[in-house]
C-alpha cells in the first residue's frame, strides 16, 4: 500500500492522490503519474522517489517555475520529516504520511437539534416572520399619518423583503462559487439574525446617545458594525456552515464585507467630518426620547449661562 499521500490545493479545494512506491512523476503532460492542468506547471515538473530505506527524494524537472520546497527552490532534495510543503508553479502541494491526522468531523447544520436556529427549516421561516414583524413595527412607530395597509405592504416589500432577499441571493451565489453548494435556508437564517441584531443594536445605541448626551455610542456602533460585526458574522458562517478553514474564512469575509462596509462608512457623517475636517452645519444632539432618561443633571438658567461662558468655538478646518 502506498505510504504517501499528495495533497493538491487548487482554487480553494483540496484533493488527494496516493504516491506509489518507487518513482512518481508530476506535471502537465498526460504521461505523468499525477496530472495537473494548471498552466504554470511544466509538462514534466517534479519527480518523487521513495527508496527502500524509506527516504524520499524530490527532483525538480522544470526549467520554468522551478519546484520549491518550504519556499526554497530545489534541484534535488532529500526529505527529512513529513509533512512537507511543495510548490510547483502556483499549485501548492503537501506530501503527507498516510497516517497523517485529519481534522475532526464537523456536523452539518441541518443535522443539529431542532432547537438550533440552523437546524430545522421552520427556524428560517420564523426568523423571516420576526423580521417582518420588527420592520412592520418600525414602520408603524414612524407613521404619523392615517395608517394604510398598502403603505405598510410597500414598506415591507422595499425595506425588508427585497433587502433581505437581495442579500440572501447574493451571498448564496457567492457561497455556491466558493464551496459548490447552495445553503439558502442557512443563509436566510443568518441574514435575518444579522438584521435583528442590527435593529436591536441601533435601538440600544440611540438610547445610549440620549442617556449620555453624546454621539459616540452610535458612532462606535456604526463603525464597529461594518468593520467588526459584519465580517465576524460572515466568518462564523463560513467556518460553521460552509466548513471552510478559519484563515480562509476570515479573508473571504473581509472581501465580501468590504463593498458593503466601505460606502456606508465613507458616507457616514462622522467619516465625512474626519475626511473633510469641516462642516457648515452644527452637529448638536437632536435626539429626543419619551423615556427621557439622561445622566446629565438638570440646571437652572443662571447655572446654564455660567457654564455656557466656557464654550469655545470649534476648530478651524485644515
Amino acid at each position: 500500500m502506498d505510504s504517501l499521500i499528495l495533497e493538491i490545493s487548487a482554487r480553494g479545494l483540496d484533493r488527494y492522490e496516493p504516491v506509489k512506491f518507487g518513482t512518481t512523476t508530476i506535471g502537465r503532460a498526460l504521461d505523468n503519474d499525477i496530472i495537473l492542468s494548471d498552466p504554470t506547471v511544466a509538462p514534466h515538473h517534479l519527480q518523487i522517489v521513495q527508496h527502500s530505506d524509506q527516504s524520499i527524494e524530490l527532483t525538480n524537472l522544470a526549467e520554468i517555475n522551478p519546484t520549491q520546497v518550504d519556499r526554497q527552490p530545489i534541484d534535488t532534495s532529500v526529505i527529512g520529516t513529513l509533512p512537507v510543503t511543495i510548490e510547483i508553479g502556483r499549485v501548492q502541494l503537501r506530501l503527507l504520511a498516510r497516517d497523517h491526522a485529519v481534522a475532526a468531523t464537523r456536523p452539518l447544520a441541518a443535522s443539529r437539534s431542532n432547537r438550533h436556529p440552523f437546524g430545522h427549516a421552520y427556524w428560517a421561516l420564523i426568523l423571516v416572520l420576526i423580521c417582518l414583524l420588527v420592520s412592520g413595527t418600525d414602520f408603524f412607530l414612524n407613521s404619523y399619518n392615517t395608517f394604510k395597509w398598502s403603505d405598510l405592504l410597500k414598506y415591507l416589500l422595499r425595506e425588508t423583503i427585497l433587502t433581505i432577499g437581495g442579500f440572501v441571493l447574493a451571498l448564496s451565489i457567492l457561497e455556491r462559487l466558493l464551496v459548490n453548494r447552495w445553503e439558502i435556508r442557512q443563509m436566510l437564517t443568518s441574514v435575518c439574525l444579522i438584521y435583528l441584531l442590527f435593529t436591536a443594536a441601533m435601538f440600544l445605541a440611540n438610547n445610549l446617545d440620549y442617556l449620555l448626551s453624546a454621539s459616540w455610542p452610535s458612532t462606535l456602533l456604526h463603525f464597529g458594525w461594518y468593520l467588526l460585526i459584519v465580517p465576524g458574522a460572515i466568518t462564523l458562517y463560513l467556518v460553521h456552515i460552509s466548513h471552510l478553514p478559519r484563515n480562509r474564512s476570515l479573508m473571504l469575509a473581509l472581501l465580501i464585507a468590504s463593498p458593503i462596509a466601505m460606502p456606508s462608512i465613507l458616507q457616514s457623517s462622522q467619516m465625512q467630518l474626519l475626511l473633510d475636517n469641516f462642516s457648515p452645519a452644527a452637529k448638536y444632539h437632536s435626539n429626543l426620547s419619551y423615556m427621557n432618561w439622561h445622566l446629565r443633571k438638570r440646571v437652572d438658567i443662571d447655572s446654564f449661562i455660567e457654564q455656557a461662558r466656557q464654550l469655545e468655538a470649534g476648530e478651524a478646518a485644515d
Partner: protein, 420 residues
C-alpha cells in the same frame, strides 16, 4: 425816492423770505453731474474692474462718499485691489480708504487733489416728497431715477429710507437728492419693483465729522477694524434689546417673547398639513431686518432670528410622537459659509429648567476666522417629559460677540412661561 427805496427793501425781504424754487430731475442732474462719480475697485494684476458703484464729492471737496459694500474687496485683499474713480467728464484718479462705517454700509474715500464742490447734506423731506437718486446703473453711464420718500424704516434700526424708485446695480453709493439738490441719503440697495433703500445722510455727516485722517495707515488691519465696528454695533443693538420691554405672544401652553424690537417682525410659519396627519403643529418665526454687510464672501451678518414650534397629538402613541418630534428637531443656520471663512461649530448640551419645565438645550458656537471676536451662535431648546406635546425654541445670531449674546439667550429663557 423814499418810496423807491422802500419798494427795493420789500423786494429784498421777499427774496430772502421766499423759499428756493424746487428743481426738476433735469435740473438736479445738471447741477450735480460733475459731482457724482463712478467708483471702481480694480485688480492690480489685470488692471480690470472687479466691482463698480457710485460715489459723490463731500467734505472738503477731496472726499468721495460711497457704500462700504462697493469697495469691500479692499478689506479682503488690500494688496491686490485698489480704488479709483471716473468722473462724468472722463477724469480718472486713484482713491484711498479714509474711514468706514460698516454698520451703515458707508465708506469715505480720499483723493490727492480737490475734485470739485462738495454736495451739501440735508435732512429727510416729508414722506411722499419727490426724491432723486443718481448713479451709474449697470456701468451704462450717469443716470437719475425719480421716486418718492417712503419714510425711515424702523425695522432697519432707522438706518434705511424707503425709496419708491428704481435703483439698479452700479448706483450703490450714489447720492439721493431732495427737490433742492441737497443730498438726503446714499443709495444702498434695491428689492426690485421700485422698492429701494437709501442710507440717511446723517450717518454720512457723522462719519465725515469723526474721520480724523485722510486714509487708514498701511499697518491698519482692516478686517480687525471691520470686526470691531460690527461687534460694537451688535453689542449696542443687544443692549437696546435687553433694555426694552418685550411684547409677548402665546403659543398653546407657552407665553413667549414676541416682537422684542421695532427691528423684528414675526409671522406665522405653520406648515400646511395634509388631511391624513394625526398631529397638529404650529410655528412662529421672528427675524430682524437690520443686517450688516460684512464683505464680498460673507455677505450679511447681524442676523437675529428666533422660531417657536409647537407639536401636539392625541392620536399618536408616545413612541410615535417622539419619533416625529425628533425628526423635526433639526434647525440650522441657513447661511453656509465655507471652511476658509468660519471654523467648525462646537456644541454642548444641557437640560435646563425653564418655568418648571425641563428643556433639552444645545448651544453651538463658531467663529469667523478673519474677524477676531466675531461668532455665530445657535441655541435650541426642546421640551421634554410630555408624551403628547412638544415644543422647540431656536435662536440664531450671526456675527456677534459671544459673551454679549448670552444675556439675550438668558432673557429669552427667563421670559418663557409655561401654563399648565
Amino acid at each position: 425816492m423814499r418810496q423807491g427805496l422802500f419798494a427795493v427793501f420789500l423786494l429784498a425781504l421777499f427774496a430772502i423770505a421766499a423759499p428756493a424754487a424746487a428743481l426738476d430731475s433735469k435740473e438736479i442732474y445738471q447741477l450735480n453731474q460733475d459731482r457724482v462719480v463712478q467708483v471702481r475697485v480694480l485688480n492690480r494684476e489685470t488692471g480690470k474692474k472687479s466691482s463698480i458703484g457710485s460715489g459723490f464729492i463731500v467734505g472738503d471737496g477731496r472726499q468721495i462718499a460711497t457704500n462700504y459694500h462697493v469697495i469691500s474687496q479692499i478689506v479682503l485683499e488690500p494688496e491686490l485691489f485698489y480704488i479709483s474713480y471716473i468722473s462724468n467728464d472722463g477724469t480718472e484718479g486713484e482713491l484711498t480708504l479714509a474711514a468706514l462705517d460698516v454698520a451703515h454700509d458707508l465708506a469715505l474715500l480720499s483723493a490727492e487733489q480737490t475734485l470739485g464742490d462738495a454736495i451739501q447734506m440735508s435732512p429727510l423731506p416729508p414722506r411722499g416728497a419727490p426724491i432723486f437718486a443718481m448713479g451709474n446703473p449697470l456701468d451704462l453711464g450717469l443716470s437719475i431715477a425719480v421716486g418718492t420718500n417712503g419714510g425711515i424704516l424702523n425695522q432697519t434700526d432707522d438706518s434705511r429710507i424707503l425709496f419708491s424708485g428704481s435703483l439698479n446695480p452700479g448706483m450703490s453709493g450714489g447720492p439721493t437728492f431732495n427737490e433742492f439738490g441737497a443730498a438726503i441719503g446714499i443709495n444702498v440697495a434695491t428689492a426690485r419693483n421700485d422698492i429701494s433703500f437709501i442710507v440717511p445722510s446723517r450717518f454720512l455727516t457723522e462719519l465725515i465729522e469723526r474721520s480724523t485722517a485722510e486714509r487708514y495707515a498701511d499697518n491698519v488691519d482692516l478686517k480687525a477694524e471691520v470686526a470691531r465696528q460690527v461687534i460694537a454695533y451688535e453689542n449696542r443693538y443687544i443692549e437696546q434689546l435687553l433694555a426694552s420691554d418685550w411684547q409677548e405672544l402665546n403659543l398653546r401652553q407657552f407665553q413667549l417673547p414676541g416682537v422684542i424690537s421695532p427691528t423684528v417682525r414675526c409671522w406665522d410659519n405653520s406648515a400646511k398639513l395634509n388631511a391624513v396627519a394625526r398631529y397638529k403643529r404650529y410655528q412662529i418665526r421672528c427675524a430682524n431686518q437690520n443686517h450688516v454687510y460684512l464683505d464680498a464672501d460673507n455677505h450679511f451678518v447681524g442676523r437675529l432670528s428666533y422660531e417657536y414650534y409647537w407639536l401636539e397629538s392625541d392620536e399618536l402613541n408616545p413612541v410615535q410622537f417622539y419619533n416625529l418630534y425628533e425628526s423635526l428637531n433639526k434647525d440650522q443656520i441657513e447661511t453656509k459659509p465655507g471652511r476658509e471663512i468660519v471654523s467648525n461649530f462646537n456644541c454642548e448640551t444641557w437640560f435646563i429648567e425653564v418655568s418648571t419645565q425641563e428643556m433639552k438645550s444645545n448651544l453651538c458656537r463658531r467663529e469667523y476666522l478673519d474677524y477676531p471676536g466675531m461668532s455665530d451662535v445657535l441655541f435650541t431648546a426642546a421640551l421634554t417629559g410630555h408624551a403628547d406635546r412638544g415644543f422647540f425654541m431656536t435662536l440664531i445670531m450671526t456675527g456677534v460677540d459671544f459673551d454679549s449674546a448670552l444675556p439675550l439667550i438668558q432673557k429669552f429663557l427667563e421670559e418663557t412661561e409655561w401654563t399648565p
